[in-house]
Symmetry: C2
Subunit: 158 residues, 2 copies
Amino acid sequence: MDGTILRMSDVKGNKGAEALRATVVFQLGTLGTLAADRFAAQVEALGLKPKHAGVLAALDAGAAASQQELASRLGVAPSLIVALADQLQELGAVERVRDPEDRRRQVLSLTGEGRRLLACCVGAAETVDAELTAGLSETQRSSLARGLRALGEQQLPG
Amino acid sequence: MDGTILRMSDVKGNKGAEALRATVVFQLGTLGTLAADRFAAQVEALGLKPKHAGVLAALDAGAAASQQELASRLGVAPSLIVALADQLQELGAVERVRDPEDRRRQVLSLTGEGRRLLACCVGAAETVDAELTAGLSETQRSSLARGLRALGEQQLPG
DNA sequence: TATTGTTATACTCTATAACTATA
DNA sequence: TATAGTTATAGAGTATAACAATA
């Protein structure tokens, strides 16, 4: 966790506390941390952190031109891509190939094992989804899915 | 950011990438980080981090019994409450009073300034809400709000 | 001896800056 | 000289462990 807002047990509060809890940003922040933590726990057994899953998915999506490009696309420092790629390579999930046209560049590509691990990550995410939404009605589940999808299309790059 | 899944530009992907992006846990994780970052930026001018807002709200809600109780209620280490309370005290937002019935306990209480700061945090959250959802239709906005509220009632303590 | 708050320390995550090699 | 990748270093954030005061 990081800049995350603290979650709060109720204690049926005063006005300020209730008003804060009622905001979308509070709910997104707290539930987002909860969800990310559960996903992290699911993929830990694979030797992966959530960001590894992000790299695998980005490569699968064809964002593979170079490590620099991957870094800027994912919004992280190039040095972090190096570390993540090192670890994924050690797991046999990606290969690094020097671009013969510009030997400074390392081109990352998914291996079969990498695709297998990505599929496991998708399975893990779907498992967490099922757990998270188990107590919701079908109507609530679809409200949530539609609301998040709409917001994601607005706010996430792509 | 921390255990957060990486956000991805599209590059109309292969199956794995799309399947991951489609999950509730991925959307919650990425949008939650985005939302928390924006909220943090809003309250920074007040000298606060999101977790300070969490403490203010918890105190406003009456969760004030002791620092230990606050720590367990908020799901963080007691030593973190000490640091957050130190900083809030320095801002004049909370007072520490020894409980006369058990002099080991420090009872935290909101000051007028603390209530004012909490109100500013609520305003900041509402501002971010407005920005985040500005591009959504009224239908989408209410889907999002209802979905998150339902999930929050299920998953957040209280 | 057990518990509250505090302080000291260590660990994780990630960015910035320095360095190497290619261009 | 500029750029891709790498390595070294530093900072933020937070937990764990050691400690002091009180019960």
